[in-house]
């Protein structure tokens, strides 16, 4: 388990570094330059079809939230 945590933290740290570098090089885009970003697969949201997957995960796992889903309460917890 400790190995898993180490691995995940390394991935998280690498991702954070990449994002920090990326943010520092943000470019200003005109609407017509956003054709790829406007692709429905690029949406920064959960898929509609994922809704019930997120529900069962929140019942079977202690962690929840930061994913525009359930954070506790309102269940269905059986």
């Amino acid at each position: 388990m400790q190995f898993h945590f180490m691995k995940i933290r390394l991935i998280g740290a690498a991702a954070a570094m990449m994002i920090t570098l990326g943010l520092s090089s943000c470019v200003h885009l005109k609407e017509y330059q956003k054709n790829r970003l406007n692709d429905s697969e690029m949406a920064l949201t959960n898929r509609k079809v994922e809704k019930n997957e997120m529900n069962f995960q929140s019942y079977r796992e202690a962690a929840a939230g930061a994913n525009a889903g359930k954070t506790g309460g309102g269940c269905g917890c059986n």
Partner: protein, 444 residues
């Protein structure tokens, strides 16, 4: 030279005719095909804005079937079957209209219906005689007002969920604003859930009915659920009065913050963070715990919990057909749990209207300090649970999704503009395994 002048004149004439080519009304009247979309007409009332009447913008239907196996049920103290099946269905109707000052209004009306069977629920009664199935119904309403000039939104939502042993009411306020260049967006959501847990106890903890003789020839019986019966000595019921089972409250408040940013024409990211506070009865009354003495009791957890999850999404468009959808979350709470979640999905667009998306999600967590397995708690423990939701575990979830959204509609039906099918297999290091298949339909 004359030829040149005539050519220019002729070209100008053709162009002039072309300019009016689309101004004539088609004389052939075709019956429009059936559509949920209502053409928007100008109000013509002389108002300064172009009002749009209330119309159905979109209808979404999601259905899932979930099947689970496992052998650590909290109902039987961390041992015993965890087999579950669940059929979930949700319908959302988005109504839209425009109001004053060009603002766009959206009203999302939702209704969900689940039916589940849980093998362990039968063991709320020691003899396995309890009802192992249940249904849940959950309507919702959400109104959002958008300023199309700035892209900013404000909205409120209401939610209800009802099942036999759990009732919940929810309310939320949400607000978002875009940056001046519209490449970034900040969102805030404040959410409150006000729940009632029905105190259904394991059968061995239900107090025995108290029988008291009140008047000659009759006996008054008060049961654990609060029902009162007056029976004759001969056994016939003279009268009874039913009262509901007692309930305990559980309140959840959540502040959700998000910020999304376009990095370049292929990459966009979003930071997400929630601050969650819960208070009230946070266990479930039919979860047993067996002490190391062999004696059993009911799960006992603190009456407050504070959760802090933070996450990041990053979606990257590679080449012309491949999109990486990635997500990472770190979670901590004051019950001692720390967790990581990482997921990646590769959406490959075989055509612009058909994509295939294999995905993988990894999750791990440390145990809450109140968790111990079957017969591991001592009677001196202040809090105790054998619910494996709080155990030290890691999970894998993988599968594939298909998305179809052809311009002429799915199966040639213009109104069905999108369909998604997704299958996933989930496995926990605690031996719990499940399969879930979901389908969603989007109508316009």
């Amino acid at each position: 030279m004359k030829k040149v002048y005539l050519s220019i004149l002729g070209f100008a004439l053709v162009c002039r005719m072309g300019a009016y080519a689309q101004t004539h009304q088609d004389t052939i009247q075709k019956k429009p095909p059936f559509s949920l979309y209502t053409p928007v007409e100008s109000s013509g009332s002389g108002t300064s804005y172009d009002a749009r009447e209330l119309h159905i913008d979109e209808i979404n239907f999601v259905s899932s079937y979930y099947s689970q196996t496992g052998d650590h049920s909290p109902v039987t103290g961390g041992i015993g079957t965890e087999n579950v099946t669940d059929m979930s269905n949700g319908l959302t109707v988005n109504l839209a209209w425009s109001g004053g000052y060009h603002n766009n209004n959206t009203l999302a009306v939702g209704l969900g219906f689940d039916h589940h069977t849980s093998a362990s629920a039968a063991y709320v009664a020691l003899n396995g005689g309890s009802n192992p199935s249940g249904t849940r119904i959950y309507p919702s309403l959400d109104w959002t007002l958008e300023n199309p000039k700035t892209g900013g939104t404000f909205g409120i939502g209401a939610y209800y969920s009802g099942e036999y042993n759990y009732k919940s009411k929810g309310l939320d306020f949400h607000w978002s604003a875009k940056t001046a260049d519209k490449n970034g967006e900040f969102g805030v959501k404040l959410q409150g859930y006000f729940d009632k847990v029905t105190m259904i106890l394991p059968s061995e903890f239900v107090p025995k009915p108290a029988a008291v003789t009140t008047q000659p020839g009759t006996i008054t019986i008060t049961t654990a659920s609060g029902n009162t019966e007056i029976v004759s000595v001969g056994g016939g019921v003279i009268s009874n009065s039913k009262s509901s089972l007692p309930t305990s409250g559980r309140n959840t408040g959540t502040l959700s913050l998000s910020y999304s940013q376009i990095i370049n024409s292929r990459l966009q990211i979003m930071f997400l963070g929630d601050v969650v506070a819960q208070q009230g009865y946070l266990g479930l009354p039919f979860h047993r715990v067996y002490f190391n003495t062999g004696k059993d009791t009911i799960e006992k957890l603190p009456s407050s919990r504070f959760k802090l999850p933070i996450g990041i999404r990053a979606n990257y468009f590679v080449g012309d057909n491949l999109i990486f959808r990635t997500y990472y979350r770190y979670y901590l709470d004051n019950w001692g749990t720390r967790s990581n979640t990482a997921s990646i999905e590769l959406a490959y667009e075989i055509t612009p209207f058909f994509s295939l998306s294999p995905f993988f999600r990894y999750y791990d967590q440390t145990a809450a300090r109140y968790f111990a397995p079957y017969e591991a708690h001592t009677v001196n423990d202040q809090y105790y649970t054998s619910n494996y939701e709080y155990a030290n575990l890691h999970t894998n979830f993988y599968g594939v999704g298909i998305r179809v959204a052809p311009p002429k509609g799915v199966f040639g039906w213009q109104n069905l503009h999108e369909m998604e099918i997704r299958y996933g297999h989930y496995s926990q290091s605690t031996n719990l395994a499940s399969d879930v298949i979901s389908v969603s339909f989007g109508f316009k």
